[in-house]
Symmetry: D3
Subunit: 288 residues, 6 copies
């Protein structure tokens, strides 16, 4: 290519004003969260949650605590760093106080570490739900080792915990990792109770303000979405309004059903496959 | 974090009794099947099935047999090792006889190698089906090189063969690899005839006991599922019952159709998009 | 395994005549396009399109042009090589003129580089559409960094540009990379206007001859497909006929709707979730 | 190349009888020790010996024990495996008892782990010797981090310990790793006391039966070699005879000096640069 | 191994007081300089010094400046980070001021970048010297591409420049990288003029306070060392005293010669192989 | 750094005229030989020369020919490519005929493949020499697996063969790889007979025109060099003159001996350690 023409293209593409929304300039020289590092962090958390299944597979009772301790310390450090980068990404203040931000990142990471046992307890129920929910499952271990449901719920429970602790950006990155792997799209803002199982899973969408109780089972292609969302005076969507369904305990939702809006599906109800539901469903009823 | 608090978290997470179902302790010091090694094995099998497309792309007629021979020997050795690990994973006997198990693993791997030509013959028909089934396809090579249908069927035919030979766990791992890549979820237990084509494919689910004839074509979002599954006296699903459809030869099933239960879709029938089918369909009819 | 038996299997699998359609012999000793190299090329193009988000995250205004210039030069060289391999793959002429082919590959790559600013301008509108279309989005950067919609549209716009320039095979490879990551299957032949947004996205299919206007928004599971396709005298599909919908400006299509055939969805129309549409829709109407 | 000619070359090179001494056939299907794994093992041992210098550089007092415990357990397991392979390499018995061999390998590895504190104590003296011996050294840490002397002695002390425990082949592999890195060739059979320092080091040779006392300092190019070695009735060298020098405490040997044969260099002696010494040297004298 | 015994070993090896000199605790949470990163930095500097030889080998005149600019910016940033770590490593002050230290690191890195053209000019003379000094050399490019002399001098000139700018630890790390690759040990403190050539090189030692003029040529095994070094009242060597030779312009020193002490080898002198020189040599004389 | 200043440094370093000898511009767009690829080629040749020792360590008699055939084909192809690059590097003709050059490269590579059995036969003698020459050697396998002598001779025999076949640049690259690993510097132009052994080896130099007979054994630090080399009318060394020693059969040369000039060391002679020899030595005599 002609050298001058090449230079013009370079200059066009380097023109910060022309494509303003497409550039990210590091604030305070802080890079973006690293997708590669976050991938490692999530994989390390999985090693702590399901010892013997991922990574170090020759676990022994006598030495397991050394492995757990090392992994937790590594996770704690890396996560604090990524949390800080997430804050930097979203930071708009000209008077930002980076030292406080670093301290807060470490505190959040410490708090996350403290909450891993809670996540582990929840996942123990999800593993049982997967085994019980699928006649093809041979044992608990098989569901941990290769079920997309367990992948999706593990990522969700981690991302949700981080969101609850006030972490920016990272929960969404983690949920999209899981979405890409499994085809299951669970927004980290959703609330999901224990013993949750998704069979097959591809195409499942669970929106930001969804609330799901205990012992809920859903199948591939199920949408728990918003019916519509109100716009502000500029025609932009108003952020953060509760707009997704409430699914009570013991509900089953079969494949490709769509449930839209802030409606309640009552305890023990069953929603048939392909159903389109935009109004509340009474407890223990079936929608076919 | 406070050192004592950290130690408490470590101890909690190292407590084998507390989260019993979430740990895997290697039996007989044998690690779990390696997802990384299985990935390599499947990629190597693909190099043997479709020479020149994957890996070594500068194939020559004079030397092809050296490459095929080397790959087969490598596959045979690695696969025997993984098969053995799969048996260890599922092994419950206290009186397990590891030497017999190792011998059996090698025999199964040998048998699998012997069956690769059969798999190759079947895939040759699937490639033709993909080319004929998609007006956008330019040539056979394009379908081999980048169609998710060919990815999914290749993984399925490998996994199914291993399952037929009595291999534990690994068939499911391979089918989930394919599911993650393509959004197509074919249980390795399903039986699928020659000339099979899935267009687009995301969201397709083909259940464990499904039987599919020859020349069948399906589209994205199709479910061949179970209508319900009987529970045992403890409320647990009974494993292994035939509960998915029988699809006879020459059937076409359009996008997002759902076919549930042990019903037969007769030869040459056509199921329209979005249809919900729970009863048998007579041969050569159309369901719209 | 018995050495003789092993040799027989090797010979069977090396038999070029037996499985003719499954082999690729390099023409003119030219290997196939490399999926690994194409992955790097697309990642490099993303670094140029969204500076600071991917790869080099500590961008400074003073040095950005060096990075852009280097990346463009690397892309230009690698892409020309891959384009040439794509031509070789499809090449059938016995009298092929490789020197002209190499020259043409470089010219196409040069032309692609010249068109990157156009692609960048279009993507700037897609980023705004994603932010405005999702109440859960916090800022433009978040959509660039982790929305599958932006992944899918970026890959599509690159693949479409290459297809327009006459590149063989590679556009389809790039679209399948995106399909695998996101579950969104956009054929590079489709035409898509500015401000395009796909929410969640898993299961979306946009066929080869689809035409989409400006400000169109679609949701997960939407199919813009062919109703049927005519066969030639040999019963093979006739390639290249316009057979997918035309979606005019300002249209919204909700989740899992299916629109089939060369029909027009008029400007500003709304298609409800789960709808099955095979006839034209008048502008500004709603289909529920 | 002509296919037949190529086949002939392949057959010649595959002819086991023709080049018998150049083939290694795994005994009992056991591969050779892995240089890659041994490299990792030695690097891991260095992380335990010099915490904070190699690998995990952000050490904290509260968590150091988790890291040490994990590394030791990993080393123990990998080393046992490599020790076993070393025995297999040297194994000539037709009636070999592999189970005993595996057990012995684990016991040796356990014993090595138990002796790491002893190695660490010795190396602590070598670090002080390096700092005191080189006016250019700034602090202890610098010698640990980048002095070839410390590299060579660390590898030596590990290899020597393994040799003492009866390990086959591996000590020599480790000593050649060090030789390649530093140009210092210390046979693992040599005996070397505390506070040992080699300045610059390239070209140093310390033979198999050398005995070195405490506080010895040597410079580049020094040879502690054999003067000659007796042959057996077949004209082959008799293995294992004491044939290298004894260097007593507090000796200094300057650059390129050569000391040959089973002679004693008495306590506190100094050997000048380039000296050729083949007879015993009295304590506290200087050879110039 | 017995769990309690294992724990005791872990505790022994984690005992900070017991092996005090062998631990490195990060000051201010700052890790040690990374040998891996420094390796990359030096390789990148080589790409800037010898464009087209290392890394990007398809250089074009029209785009070279983009590559140089990008590499320099990458080097500048990475180097500043490593310089800072080097300061942290050596930092003893309890009242350390990290912000000033970071600023100083950046200034030094900027200064180093400014001095690269000077280094490049010197190396251009060394390349000519290598070509003229070795009858076996075919062209300049061959010496750049594979002569250990050019490797050693390049590393030395980089390390020396960094030492001159006050950088801690890193110059020694770089010189030991070169020592390990080439067997040539040049202390970064030495001063070496233009047109310097070392033939073969293994075993060469050039001490910290050596001064070498222009057009000097030396061969393998040459030592430019200290004769002795004075000890302080504690018997420790006094650091930093001029104790190595001064080699004036046009001197040639043949293989394995040893020159010790702060003596001057006069302009144009020749030192024969294996010579042992501890007294000044008059200009234009030969020592045989 | 100030942006303008930075730009000036970039421009200076991009100034092709200023540092002319330091740039390599690819001729005919052909990159330099790749050190990475050559490393792989040499490692692959070692796998063919010493089956079971390097790489595939679980060799079986039944399948060895597939591995040898595949490796040879891979080597042949990669080597032809590197040979061509070597010619491009040295190519000065403006009317270069690249098609002939490519053809010649392939022919040379074919010829090299044909000569591998000859190299293998020679190395079989070197392995025996190493075992017989070192009382510390336990078996043939140990010398193959970890003796620097075998590394150096293997690289030398490969490089020498390539040089004999007229390959440019690559023989020197290979010999420097070996020099860096072992400290043994053998010019590929030297001629070395069978049963050659170098003990320890660091610092050995064997010059370009050296001729070595059969059953020769040398020790560390031995130089077989040029005494001086004649200059042409411009004061540049005349290339290619025979200037290194001839060492006849059965000669032993002990450590650090130096033999300079085109002199003959007669059959069966012994040269003592540290000797400086510049005149011919009569057969069967000892120089001490």
């Amino acid at each position: 290519m002609d050298a001058k023409k090449f230079e013009n293209i370079v200059n066009d593409l380097s023109d910060l004003k022309k494509y303003e929304s497409l550039y990210h300039f590091a604030k305070n020289e802080e890079p973006l969260p690293s997708i590669e590092n976050l991938t490692t962090i999530v994989e390390d958390i999985k090693k702590v949650l399901f010892p013997g299944f991922f990574g170090q597979s020759e676990l022994k009772e006598e030495t397991i605590n050394y492995y757990i301790g090392t992994k937790l310390d590594v996770i704690n450090r890396s996560l604090a760093e990524q949390i800080r980068r997430g804050f930097c990404f979203s930071c708009n203040k000209s008077d930002l106080n980076c030292i406080d931000c670093e301290k807060r990142s470490k505190e959040i990471s410490d708090q996350f570490i403290s909450n891993i046992p809670k996540i582990k307890s929840l996942l123990a129920t999800d593993v049982i739900a997967a085994f019980n929910g699928d006649p093809a499952a041979k044992n608990y271990g098989e569901t941990i080792f290769c079920y997309p449901s367990i992948v999706a719920i593990t990522y969700y429970r981690i991302a949700h915990e981080l969101l609850e602790l006030g972490v920016e950006l990272i929960p969404r990155i983690i949920s999209e990792m899981s979405h890409s792997k499994t085809g299951i799209d669970i927004h980290p803002g959703a609330t999901i109770g224990e013993y949750f199982f998704i069979d097959h899973g591809t195409g499942v969408v669970i929106g930001e303000t969804t609330i799901i109780g205990k012992n809920v089972r859903i199948y591939q292609g199920v949408t728990l979405g918003a019916k519509s969302f109100p716009l502000d005076e500029n025609g932009k969507p108003i952020k953060g309004i509760a707009r997704h369904p409430i699914i009570e305990d013991e509900v089953t939702i079969y494949s490709n059903a769509t449930i839209l809006g802030r409606i309640t599906i009552g305890e023990g109800a069953t929603i048939g496959g392909n159903q389109w539901v935009t109004e509340a469903v009474v407890a223990k009823t079936k929608v076919n």
